[in-house]
């Protein structure tokens, strides 16, 4: 199998897209992906579909695909570092979903999506333990999922209020990408959370990061909260993007020379509220 950088030319340039997940539009005023595409096609060139196999695809995702819209598949239900999680039944359902969505690639937060097996009440999202020992199990899961689906699998740095382990999250994911020989999805908002949680400047760890493997970026709003004086950012996908997220995004654009896609995660906001955000992203990276 050719190395990732040799496989890279086969990945399409998708431009600026938006995200959705099952039932996202049930909330009043939530984003209507097809309406956005009809009104502003340059701001919704593809749809990143968040998939939890147990829930399937909702009408919005199906309609987008029926219209011939481009997609990426964002998993919401696999702990990549747990071989038990890539069970035959789940993999078969993933392949069926892939056949429906025809995504350009698979991607998603490479963290703990659930404790134990997939079950009611088990869902959460924790970042990986940032130690060298955690690299190989995650890389093996990525390679296994790539082999099972025939698509590239791009791990994403997850959000968190607490990050365990001595490695910087960029150092960890660079090691994972190399071990799995894959590309990366860099979530700028999640990285801003990490830098804040560690008390680091917004661009800590940038030098030496595997920027040539970064295929996709995420930009999303976040809100600042505190518990008894402990500050943290909630990854609420609102329209207020933190200044450090913007700085990370703009620098990532400069460094990620093989970038193919940028997703603005804003699925629960109305179109007028997200237009400024989408325009800023599209303006920073002309489609």
């Amino acid at each position: 199998m050719p190395g990732f950088l040799e496989r890279l030319p086969a990945l399409p340039a998708l431009g600026v897209g938006i995200s959705t997940e099952y039932g996202a539009r049930r909330q009043d005023g939530a984003l209507d992906p097809r309406a956005l595409r009809a009104e502003h096609p340059e701001l919704a060139r593809f749809l990143e579909v968040g998939v939890e196999i147990a829930k399937g695809l909702d009408d919005d995702a199906r309609a987008w695909v029926a219209d011939g819209g481009a997609t990426t598949y964002h998993f919401l239900d696999v702990n990549l570092d747990e071989p038990e999680d890539l069970d035959p039944r789940w993999l078969a359902a993933v392949r069926e979903t892939v056949a429906m969505l025809r995504p350009a690639w698979l991607c998603g937060d490479a963290g703990m999506w659930h404790f134990g097996a997939r079950d009611r009440g088990h869902m959460l999202l924790l970042p990986p333990v940032l130690v060298p020992e955690a690299v190989a199990p995650m890389a093996e899961g990525i390679a296994a999922l790539r082999q099972a689906t025939g698509l590239e699998v791009l791990p994403e740095n997850p959000p968190g209020a607490v990050f365990v382990g001595p490695l910087h999250v960029l150092e960890f994911f660079a090691a994972v990408a190399e071990a799995a020989d894959t590309g990366l999805l860099l979530d700028c908002a999640h990285l801003a959370m990490f830098q804040r949680a560690r008390g680091l400047p917004w661009n800590a760890g940038f030098d030496g990061f595997a920027w040539d493997r970064v295929i996709e970026l995420h930009v999303a709003g976040g809100s600042e909260h505190a518990v008894e004086g402990f500050s943290f950012v909630e990854d609420d996908h609102g329209t207020q993007v933190l200044p450090d997220t913007w700085m990370i995004f703009e620098e990532a654009l400069r460094r990620a020379t093989n970038l193919r896609a940028v997703v603005v995660e804003c699925e629960r906001n109305p179109i007028p509220a997200v237009l400024p955000l989408l325009r800023r992203v599209a303006g920073a990276r002309p489609a």
């Binding site: 570092d81 747990e82 038990e84 703990m112 404790f115 134990g116 097996a117 079950d119 009611r120 009440g121 088990h122 959460l124 924790l126 990986p128 333990v129 130690v131 020992e133 955690a134 199990p137 209020a161 607490v162 365990v164 382990g165 949680a197 909260h225 518990v227 008894e228 004086g229 402990f230 943290f232 909630e234």
Partner: protein
């Protein structure tokens, strides 16, 4: 266990336990805990306890799931007692074993809610049962025989009807109402079966059948099962045919070859 062991997954599972259980988190900070090597604990001991409190609804969501799935049990114990499970060794053991939350809860529950607790725990287990592998003869994965106090089934059905389609809301509205007291005496022999559509059938069955199925919850050699059938009252000459019949009816499952 070596103090040098470092299993990232175990560290993450311990972190989940810390998220659910502030007392366990405090013990991790304070000193050695049996669940972790010293190297694993070193990664977690400096976690700011406030960082574990950023999701104020985490425990409530877990309790909600348990109350929805074991509503009569929650009515008998009280919701506060159900929440107590989140600080239990059984929760932690389940996290480290990748067990279902309901299975860990069932391990903690034991006989706390008497027959109704065991009935609902069995129902939760049957909803998640998967095709077994291995050898021997065992109770089918979609079947469970239970010996419970007399009147348990009627008690369960009555409480379940009272709680309606939203047991969490119903229990929240119970206020200071006394908790129902489940039957304690006598014996009732229950058969719980998962149907093809995933729903569960509850009914009574004969004592020998239920006891034989309970005996077969762990896979047994066929000869061992036949001997148990005889001990429970079957004629020696009929024991083999009885096991064949139960296999044909789908109440028993047989692996590729007996041990």
């Amino acid at each position: 266990m070596s103090d040098e062991r470092l299993e990232p997954r175990r560290v993450q599972q311990a972190l989940v336990a810390m998220l659910f259980d502030p007392e366990f988190a405090a013990r991790v900070r304070a000193g050695a805990v049996p669940e972790l090597s010293e190297r694993e604990r070193a990664l977690l001991r400096d976690v700011d306890p406030r960082a574990l409190e950023t999701d104020p609804h985490r425990r409530a969501r877990a309790v909600h799931v348990l109350v929805e799935e074991l509503p009569a049990t929650a009515a008998v114990l009280g919701v506060d007692a159900v929440e107590g499970f989140l600080g239990s060794p059984e929760l932690r053991a389940g996290l480290f074993e990748r067990a279902a939350l309901t299975a860990s809860f069932a391990a903690w529950l034991g006989d706390r809610a008497l027959g109704v607790g065991r009935l609902e725990a069995a129902m939760a287990a049957l909803r998640r049962a998967t095709e077994p592998s291995g050898q021997g003869v065992a109770c089918s994965p979609g079947v469970r025989g239970l010996v419970v106090p007399a009147g348990t089934l009627a008690f369960y059905l009555r409480i379940r009807a009272e709680l309606g389609s939203d047991p969490v809301h119903a229990l929240a509205c119970w206020g200071g109402r006394p908790r129902p007291s489940p039957p304690r005496r006598g014996a009732q022999y229950l058969l719980v079966e998962r149907k093809a559509d995933g729903s569960l059938d509850l009914g009574t069955a004969s004592e020998p059948l239920v006891r034989l199925l309970a005996f077969a919850e762990a896979a047994r050699a066929r000869a061992e099962l036949e001997a148990e059938a005889v001990r429970l009252g079957a004629e020696s000459a009929e024991a083999s045919k009885l096991v064949d019949d139960l296999l044909a009816e789908g109440l028993l499952w047989q692996g590729a070859a007996g041990p």
